[in-house]
Symmetry: D2
Subunit: 328 residues, 4 copies
């Protein structure tokens, strides 16, 4: 072994006082296991958003608005770091409810005062009686859904009372959310609308937003064309010089951005996946990015890394550190 | 404590020679942890499929055809144990490829001869060159997709050259698959078609099938109405006497069957969830069924259980044991 | 591709009425993902216990007695399928408490009647007041510990009032448990004693049993030599013709049987690992057996498989199926 | 609902340029799910190490030295934030090898250049031939073990050639490591020795260090008393004014610090658990701290939180943020 051993030594993470997030993430490059992967994710994402020639696709699954990730996404969009957003109907539902002045809530003040992790889970029947929907440790009062229905019927659907693509629907939702809140304050759909960033949402009918769309379609000329925006997303992928994928969680959003390159001559050049799912289940959500390479969804020499850890922890870290580096 | 202690003792699993699957699952009721939950899942599922007044919804996410679960599903459909199937575009793609005589493959003969778990993962670039797509430890030769394209363009799309609902599309796919193979042999979509079981697939565009649908829509009058079948699934839920949900994996299929009761006066009376995902991530896929109770998706007194373990192991066990009991 | 494609097709699991466990596990060989691994685990374990020339090491971590696995282990020992058992102090504590006529209990009758998964977790403070210790969804009345103390001080420690090895202690515990219950009825330690199977327990002090041992050592000549039985286990490994490892859960027991071959010329020829832990954490408990191969703990051509799924589900399945095959 | 709704709204994480780690962790208090738990972990740990009247127990399982966490631990010890350390024999082995000038290595330069996550796992047989042991994605050249043997036989064992407690052994190891490197530079055991912090290691025989201890015991008067240091750790717990537990990973170290309060009138007042394990497996490593409350290991009103996420990511974050706050 000895001097010809070709691997780099692990030098250990060194914590210093008042470190910035980027500084700590640089220290993580000295670590092994998931900490090392996280550091590499920062490196790759920095390059993705710093290079002018990269078209950035962001996919986001999981209840990321209830989880508190809304401003991170709007910030990325506003600063030009997202060219395409693919997410779920649930995320757009949660985002719209907040655009209407309603909030998600920390599940229990008891939890936070008492440190009792289980208390939060005990009252699902009681919550039902109180009209509160639970999303793990976050509460959403059901009255938000009634307000959302009013908003959609007053401000959104009437303007698209015809067959539209899902992207046209999400854009109109964004426009209405933006109008309610003023520039920059209306949340993910609003800011995406303001910045001209398309939001694709392939399974939108699987959400409260989708239920509302369906009910409105019963009494109007409104309908959603499931295939109506696939030309757009494929063209964006096709016309890009370089392609970057930031994949937060798995599910449809993950695959939808990956499959957008299947019909282009070139695949993703960069890909970062932040997921708490596990590879060994065999499902797409936990699948490694190498698996995607076999399908031709990643270039053979793409820079890619998967961080197998809770995305509510890793996503803000990667964004904070990469943005700090880009801002110099 | 002593005699007034109100809990049932754990008596331990007793393994006997030539036990049937149902007998072993009954022994699991003596166990704790996930084994106990699995036993309860068998009890609940048995009741769900045995009672004549229960309308059974089956959701299935994850690559369950490559995983080898195809016959289990077709068997359930053929024997009347599935009234509604909700799945992914990927599952219908994999199912159709097999209906065309192509196969998924065990990832590596080396793996199976040598017991070397890692060998299977090493060749993603090589697989790319060889035209083989990898799904964890399963291989799918890409030529299957070309055959699928021919099938769709010859036998499926021309018959629905108009705006159709996604369910109409999956039914036509099932009809064509059935025709190719003869009654009972064409796989999930085919058997569902033969038995009049609707297949809903809310995010179908997120799959090779969806890509093919989009490409065909470019050169024809064919289009897919994203909202076109929501009345149907809501009506089925509404008109049912009792509602049962068998949830295999999470994702869109899970939520789509759960949300089908949101607009009905009554929610699910039975629910079994088999998932390898974790609750602590906060996402829907790993969410407990109690969380669904807060949303009114389950009756307060519903019988429900989640088995947090790999569904490729638990699904066949639950089906085999429940069917054995129903067959008496 | 076509006919020269060298991989075996996936034929799908076929469920038949009144299948035996072994028959279903054979069907799993047609599956992918974890189901396939489970089938291979049955094949390997069958060979391990069927061959006369294999010395079988069983490691068991996790609360497997509260989980209901006690009879499975005693059955394996009684039929000669375990030559060495390595487990935790907690397992021997739980086993001894049951040998004294006390029971673990299903956590909540509410749970089982109502299907409410969360109810079981809500009363930890109340349980504390009631003198009930919780192990996930299993309850253990604390009075069992007082009875255990009496047993140890009356029937166990006085006979080994000197410096002994941990194996001598576990054997004396087994003898006393056996005497209390009669041949074959005293549980894991008792049956191991009756059959001359040594139980090693490297971290025994980390348990109620260890606390009791320490307290007794304060008032007697009793002490435990931490290194006192390492010659034995290394000699057993050294003298074996073939070595087989059945690893249930991870932790110390896993590594202790693996390291037993580090000083022998030959390593394990067979290894089956059943674990719910994940490889990506980098810890030993979820580490693949291939990693062990790099350390020389497995022969290069060993037959080995890891099943990444809940061991309370997979362990009884593998044992039931392998025993059925051995019994013909 | 409305104004009487008693829960706090989720305000979303706001990322600002050049944020310090503590600032970002404060933002996480606006989040839900694991991000929220992480923020609470920082709050609790800050209080634990800031208060003069808290005796701090640190448990550490998993391969945390290969993972790059060595300096974090030595820093905490040197600044007085650790009063008792409980860890594994493997950690002390890895720590000692580095104290002798040897290194762990990033598993593959290919990995880092090419972004190919799977390449790292492919060569376990080749690694065996090259004398390299793999720990997930970290490599350890086996020659380190020979150097360790020399060190132990020359500098450690001769000074304790009698029956000693495990703590005496780890202290002597620390002394020797310290002597080799000079004050502050010898790693975990060395710095703990310099600072008078005891290291308990209940399962030490399950490690290379344990194998070496056993071999030396064969040719000398050296032996290890398994129970020899339990009075010490129990006395420390008993005499503390307040007790705090920082639990990194699970395993024996976790339980050993928790059980140290079982015989004291008061239990832990603070507890932070950072683990990638899952609660639903039923094992101790993933068990919630509420479960520990039922056992009386935590005070009913203890401040406690579990962060279910990879500890190699969360541990440095919590330490960096808490230390920043303490330093003001």
């Amino acid at each position: 072994m000895g001097k010809e051993f070709q691997y780099n030594p692990i030098d250990h993470i060194d914590v210093k006082n008042k470190m910035t997030v980027s500084e700590l993430m640089s220290e993580y490059s000295n670590a092994g296991f998931a900490a090392n992967a996280l550091s590499e994710a920062v490196d790759i994402y920095t390059e993705m958003i710093e290079r002018q020639d990269v078209t950035n696709f962001l996919s986001m699954a999981g209840a990321m608005v209830p989880a508190g990730m809304r401003k991170i996404v709007t910030g990325l969009i506003q600063d030009g770091y997202v060219d395409v957003l693919v997410t779920t109907g649930a995320t757009l539902t949660h985002d719209a409810i907040e655009a209407l002045g309603h909030k998600h809530h920390h599940g229990s003040s008891i939890l936070r005062e008492r440190g009792n992790e289980s208390k939060i889970r005990e009252h699902d029947e009681k919550l039902r009686d109180e009209g509160v929907d639970r999303i793990y440790n976050v509460y959403l009062p059901q009255e938000g859904f009634a307000i959302l229905e009013d908003h959609l019927r007053s401000n959104v659907f009437p303007n698209i009372d015809r067959e539209v693509s899902i992207r046209e629907f999400t854009a109109e939702l964004g426009r209405a959310n933006s109008e309610k809140n003023g520039n920059g304050n209306g949340g993910i759909a609003a800011v995406a609308y303001e910045c001209g960033v398309p939001i694709y949402c392939p399974g939108i009918q699987d959400s409260i937003l989708g239920l509302q769309a369906w009910m409105y379609s019963q009494i109007s000329s409104f309908s959603l064309n499931a295939l109506g925006d696939m030309t757009e997303i494929n063209d964006i992928a096709h016309n890009a010089k370089k392609r970057g994928a930031m994949i937060v969680g798995g599910g449809l959003p993950k695959n939808y951005i990956l499959q957008a390159v299947l019909l282009t001559p070139r695949a993703y050049d960069y890909a970062v996946q932040l997921t708490g799912d596990s590879e060994h289940l065999g499902g797409l959500s936990g699948a490694s990015l190498d698996e995607a390479r076999s399908w031709g969804k990643l270039e053979k020499n793409a820079k890619n890394i998967t961080v197998y850890a809770d995305a509510t922890i890793t996503f803000p870290l990667v964004v904070a550190a990469a943005r700090e580096r880009v801002n110099g």
